[in-house]
Each structure stands twice: as structure tokens, then as C-alpha cells.
Amino acid sequence: MNAPVRPGALSAGALPIALAEPAIRFEKVGKTYAARSGQQAVSALAGIDLSVPTGSILGVIGRSGAGKSTLIRLVNGLERATDGRILIHGEDVTKLTESGWRSQRRRIGMIFQHFNLLSSRTVFDNVALPLEIAGTPRAEIAAKVERLLALVGLADKSERYPAELSGGQKQRVGIARALATDPKVLLCDEATSALDPETTRSILALLRQVNRELGITILLITHEIPVIKEICDRVAVIEGGRIVEEGETFAVFTAPQHPTTARFVETVTGVEVPEHLASRLRTEARPGDSLVLRITFIGENATAPVISRLSAIVGIDVNILAGRIDAIAGQPFGSLLVSVPSRAPESEAVLGALKSLGLKAEVIGHVS
């Protein structure tokens, strides 16, 4: 099977724009809240170096209080950096005045966790709001809004009020509204955190579509690892106001370097040792024990009939204890917990065979 191509990792030939200036670039950016009476100055962000390649989706993941909402608000000037520079399509925005920011913001869309739709306006008028603000002629607004509502699948809800919509529909209105002024960049502030898993998937699919079809660069922040797994080409992990790890989603997920990253990705990539087994695990083998292994599959291996091949090569039975096959950023990834005989010739044969098949195997312990 061919591994699907990730847009973020495309060669320059396929997508020349990937070589161009990143859509957003943070250079040693810091944000410190000045000391107030009786309070110390608070450093929210420090030494942020991060590039969001044009046309990609980059996800910033972190716990609450890690600084991710400050980070995303620096991009459209809702918060101002106190150190470093931020470049948007090569233009330094750090020194912009408030009115400079206003025209800049019309080129950056934003969607929110709680949608932030105006309850007094219909769906149509909510989507029209950014165009009214930009002074777009009325006739042009009508055509544009109809087109956007069709794009997000809400053409029939045009005259409804937000209170009459479900959460997923409200976020679709939010997306249509964010796209109204034809932005090149879309900021997503925990856009799916208030939605159920199924609705989350449909909103993520829409964001993916917006990214691919309209070529809009997306910077999103989330505390939900499935969001990253589902649509992000690249991921940055933020903790204590610093980026502790950043890279292509698949690479970061399959080989996390920082303990925080490891904890986040564990929930989607790891296979826990089942309780009944964990209590019986020993580090030393006794005669007649079984060896417990965790096998990690990456890329095309994830879908290959590995276990039957293994049995065929070494001629012993492989017992599957737990497992998971999934896709990360569109690439298959799997993890299996198996047991094989602990005896030296057999276990060594198994480990050798796994190596020859190009699989990563990790010894978890021995059980009787």
C-alpha cells in the first residue's frame, strides 16, 4: 500500500508555495503581563519560535494555562507581544497600530470555542457582519453570504437565529463568518472543544476541506489530541509558556521526545497493558514463561499481515493480547501487545524476525 502523501511534507515540485515565506512566523516571541498593584509581572509566553507553513494546518496542544490562547491571540493582535517579532506572510505585524491591526484582522479569520455568534442576528446576518464592518456593498454581501452558507452546508438555515441551531451548526456559521472576508489564515481557538466527538469529526472535516480547497493556512489550538491526530500536518506542544516540541504530526506522535508530548500521544498511540496481565508481569523469566512484547507498526507495515508472516517465518504461535490500528495525520499507525514463548531460541527468533520485517519491538516483561 502506498502511504498517503501529507500536504505539509510535499516536495517543492508538487506545491511550490511550500517553499515560500511561512504564513505565520514567530521569532523569539514573548508576552509578559505588566505588574499590577500587589501582583508580580506574569510571563505568559517566552522564546516562542514557530513557523506555520503556508497552506498547512498546524496544531498547538497544551493544557489549560499553558499559554496557547495567548499565543493564538498574538496572531491577530487581540493580545500584543512584548518581545520578539511576528511575521504574517513576511510582514512584521508587531509594530502595527490599532488601526493597522484592524485592516490586518480582515485578512485573518477566527473561530471560537463558544462560537461567539450574535444572538440578535440571523445566520445570514451573522455571516454578513464582517462584510458590513469592511464596508462591502449590500448586493455583494448577499451573493457572498449565500455562497459561504452553501459551502458550510447551511443554505437552508439562512433566516434562522443561532438559538435555533445545534452546536455543530453554530460552528459552521462561525466558519462561514470567518471566511467572509477571504482570509488567507484561519485561527481556531478550541473550535471543537464544546462539541461531541461525532460533531467534532464533521467540523474537522470541514476545516480540512477549507484548508485544501481554499488553500487557507490554519493555526489551531486545542487540548484534545484527537484533533491534532485528525487534521494537523504539524504539531507544537506548549507547556509553561514555551514550545517544548514541534514537528510533523506523524513523526512527533510516533517518536515523542518530550515527556509532556509522550503523555499526550500515549492516549492515541499507546496500548495499555491490560490490568489482569500487568499484575503478573515479571522482569525475570522463569521456565515456561511467555515473553510480552509491544510491536509498533508505522506506515505501510501497519496494514500488512505481520502476525501471520511472523508465525510463518519462525513457526511459533503469536498470542495477541491487545492492540490498536489507527491513522495519524492520514498515515496508518498501529501498536500490538503480543506474547510468545520466553525460551531463548524461540524468543530470539521472534525478535530477529520482527527486526527483519522492519518493526519496532519493545520487551514489556514475562508472565507465566
Binding site: R105, R106, L118, S119, S120, R121, A134
Partner: protein, 221 residues
């Protein structure tokens, strides 16, 4: 009841309506921008001007804590300056307006502060100017609460208007005191009270209905 009395009650009702409507109208025109300013001018807000906010806040509180009957007397020179006289229905509109403006400003401030700050942030993210945020977001979103506040203010004004008889203002309150009380005519008093009850009921139910129609936060059946 003599036709003469009925004509008097009718005239007093009209006087009350005129005083309340004119004072309420002017006070709304003044109180709306004042209330919006009070709601948006603290530190870090849209029109951040903490000093002006504090000064206006004190002024508003001072006016509101002065009992109305004392306010009426205290501002007589101002009333004379504005209305040319300090006696009569036209003159009574001045203290009514002065009393209602800070009241309405506080009600509007409260209504505007209830608007979700997320909406302000969303509008800022769209590139809206502070004035656009007020006109397109804050006031429309606060409108149901503003209408309820204005209803409350009008009902209070009807009550206040009964006191302006003290400075020769007409109206139902004045009629009740002069005929119902001083001339021992309980039937006049009863009619005055009944008319006032009907007026308040009317204002309140119109306001409630309007606020409900403007409120799109509730699901429509």
C-alpha cells in the same frame, strides 16, 4: 362626578403622559450614550478612560441618591434657565429628565455589561472599530435588556411625575393631592389611582412584549 371633574382628570392624564413621554425620551437620548460609555470605559475596555468613567460614575450616583422631591427644589435655578419658568408642566419636565437620565444610564450600563465579552472579541477579530462594536454588537445584543430597563424607567417616571405638583407641575399626582386629599374628594383620588394603575400596567406589558419579541436567544416554537 361632574363633567368638569372628568375634563380635569382627562387633562391631568394628558399632562402626566406628556411629562413622562418627553422626559423619558430626552433621558433615553442622553442616558443611552452615557450608559454605553459607563459600560465601556473602565481600564482595558473599548473606550478606556478610567478617570472619566470614575467622575461620571460619582456624578450619576450623586444624582441618583438625591431624593427626587429635594432634587426638584434644588435645581430650580437650572429649571428656570432651561424652561424659562420654574412652574408648570413644561418646567416639571426638567427635573424629571435630570432624575431619569442617570437612572437610565445605569440600567443601560447594566444591560450592555451583560453582553458576552466573546462577542466583543469576535468583532475585534473581524477588524471592527470601537464605534462599530457599539452599534453592531453591544447595543443590538443588549436591546431586549435595554427595553426592559426603559420600561422600568418609564414606570418610575410615572411615579416621580406625581411629585412635581410641588412646583406647580400638573398631572395626575397633583390632581390627587389637590382634589382627592386637600378637598376631601375620595372619588377623585380613587379615579386618579385607577388611571395610574392602568397606565403602569400598559407601559409594563408593552415593554415586556417588545422585549420578548426582540429576544432571539429563546428558541421560537
Amino acid at each position: 362626578m361632574s363633567p368638569e371633574l372628568i375634563r380635569l382628570i382627562w387633562q391631568s392624564t394628558l399632562d402626566t403622559l406628556v411629562m413622562v413621554a418627553v422626559a423619558g425620551g430626552i433621558a433615553t437620548l442622553l442616558g443611552l450614550p452615557l450608559g454605553v460609555f459607563l459600560a465601556t470605559s473602565k481600564r482595558g475596555e473599548l473606550f478606556a478612560a478610567p478617570a472619566a468613567n470614575a467622575v461620571l460614575g460619582v456624578l450619576v450616583n450623586a444624582t441618583r441618591s438625591t431624593p427626587f422631591i429635594i432634587l426638584v427644589v434644588a435645581i430650580i435655578p437650572f429649571t428656570r434657565l432651561v424652561a424659562g419658568t420654574s412652574i408648570g408642566t413644561a418646567a416639571a419636565i426638567v427635573p424629571l429628565t435630570v432624575a431619569a437620565t442617570p437612572f437610565i444610564a445605569r440600567l443601560i450600563e447594566g444591560a450592555v455589561r451583560e453582553v458576552d465579552q466573546g462577542l466583543v472579541e469576535a468583532a475585534r477579530a473581524m477588524g471592527a472599530t470601537p464605534v462599530q462594536i457599539v452599534r453592531k454588537v453591544l447595543v443590538p445584543e443588549a436591546l431586549p435588556a435595554i427595553v426592559l430597563g426603559l420600561t422600568l424607567a418609564l414606570v418610575s417616571l410615572i411615579g416621580f411625575s406625581a411629585m412635581v405638583g410641588a412646583v406647580g407641575g400638573g398631572g395626575l399626582g397633583d390632581l390627587g393631592i389637590r382634589y382627592g386629599y386637600q378637598r376631601f374628594m375620595p372619588d377623585v383620588m380613587a379615579v386618579v389611582v385607577a388611571v395610574l394603575i392602568v397606565l403602569v400596567q400598559l407601559v409594563q406589558s408593552i415593554g415586556d412584549r417588545l422585549a420578548r419579541r426582540l429576544n432571539k436567544r429563546l428558541r421560537h416554537a
